[in-house]
Amino acid sequence: MRDILFNLIISLLSGIFMCLIVLPLVALFTTTSWSELAGQFKSPLIVSAVIISFQTSLAVLLAALVFGLPVAYLLAMKNFPGKEILDTLIDLPICMPPLVAGLGLLILLGGESKFGVFLNSRGVDLIFSKPGIVMAQLFVAGPFLIKSSRQAFEAVNKNVTQASRCLGASEFHTFRKVLLPLARNGIYAGMIMTWARALGEFGATSMVAGCIPGRTETMTQAIFGYAMSGEMGSSIAIALLLIVFSFTSLLVFKSRIRKQLPGA
């Protein structure tokens, strides 16, 4: 009897939460029609926002792989002084408001800091540019790849990597032939999360990008901009596109993982 009550309450509370997720999505999908939507995607400003978002988020993904995987490897496989600090620093962007990160970057890259002045004197202006957006998004989204890959590296049986070393393989060979293949799923998961986070990033990006339509306006900023100026149709169209992207990438990823785990 008590169990029935307990299960009832659990289901009820879960149901409330599901509504919270589903209802806004339903609202987005029902306020517009297909023909209206198709019309929106003919607007060059919306198309450019989509392109800019893809360019920057894919660049973030690439940069996270190039610079983040080494960090994950260090954290997972090595012991060194200051490891705790590095670990905490990686966690920081996940907890910190992205606006704060954006503000920091704005000051660093703009004329307010010595570094910014130095860059400007060399003719490099990262503020209000795509590289600036990539940096802001990398700051916010990069740690997801690092954390996920690190966990995946740590989950690989130490004896297996050590066996590779004993069989004569170098550390790099072991990384390439043993660690990477075995940590693959965790790295993929991190890539999806980082890419999705970068695509949806708003706070940090808006500080450094300056929302110049057609040049530095990403999809999230366009949504905000259109909604604030009352152009709900355009706003919704982009929002729906973002939802579709996130959903499909998650689905693709989950089905891949299931395929790759044959009884293991």
Binding site: N157, N159, V160, Q162, A163, S164, R165, C166, L167, G168, A169, S170, H173, K177, V178, P181, L182, P262, G263, A264
Partner: protein, 380 residues
Amino acid sequence: MNIVLRQISKSFHGRPVLENLDLKVAPGEFHVLLGPSGGGKTTMVSVIAGLTKPDSGSVLINDRDVSLLPPGKRKIGLVFQDCAIFPHLDVFDNIAYGLRVRKQGEANIRQKLKYYLEKTGLEKEKHKFPHQLSGGQKQRTALLRTLVTEPEVLLLDEPMSSLDILTREQISAELVNIQRKTGLTTIYVTHNQAEAFSLGDRISVLHNGKIEQIETPEELFYHPKTEFVARFVGINNILKAKVAATSRREAVMEITNEGLSQSFKLKVKNYPVFKKGEAINLCLHPEKINLSKKNAAIDGGLNRICGKIIKRTNHGNTFKVTVDIRGLALHAVIPKFLFNFQVYEEVWVVFAPDALHPLCGRRCRAPEFSRKCHNDLLTY
């Protein structure tokens, strides 16, 4: 190819695991490292392999100091307790791994592996992945993966501990066979004394970060030098004694264990370490004890003490019997067909003077490994 460890020390988080450990393994020796779980056996093996950096001390293989070399350059082969075969590679690719690292051409590798796979009966399994293999097949794969790289020394860290007894005996036999044929210097780690006795040319017992005793299996079993070794090889009767008198062949010992309501005297075969009036620990082999209903004085040279059976446990073809003697618990191993007593029955405990050995302490002379003794064993 000999292996020499000099003054190896290693601590984890301030807790010493190996302390000034010295060990010499002779070329061609099958050396068993025996010790309890958590005693530092794996740490020692990974120091030899170069996977763990010791705090101090050096490792020599074939008289070459390898302390600064990475694992791959030490010409060692290491087989792990959990096999550690690559889960993403099939049997063939697992075994070929070391050869591919050495860039031996694919044709060459295929030819070499064909030979080995047929010999070990893994031919049919060569395209299976680790999760499709039995424990024995996994361990064979791991062993073969190491052997094809032709290491100078072979290190095996509890390789059989997850296998059933039949598979274990089969693979052990194959292993010993290969070792005898190739003369590959081998260190075999185990916590199982039965395995140690059946495999080793010599056994070293690891305790508290040091080698407690190095001995041939026979010597280790019949002449343990410390209480730890005695207990670890299953001799759990430790008697605290004082030498009361000595003669040419025998000594009389007064037994003074704590908890004894009244001390008693025993005849013990005389050893040079016995000095009149001095205290020494003795071990009494449980399998050398007989139980008897009557104090039948058949042989006046035997020790006899009256006691009471307080416990009997079943061990296949023997009983382990605990007899209470004036507050002292003595353990005896009695073949089942000779046991016709009841628990709580009064019995006479009978044993010869040579059932007892002195535990003269760790300052032991380690016998050198000799090929002669090795060959004797083989012909035997």
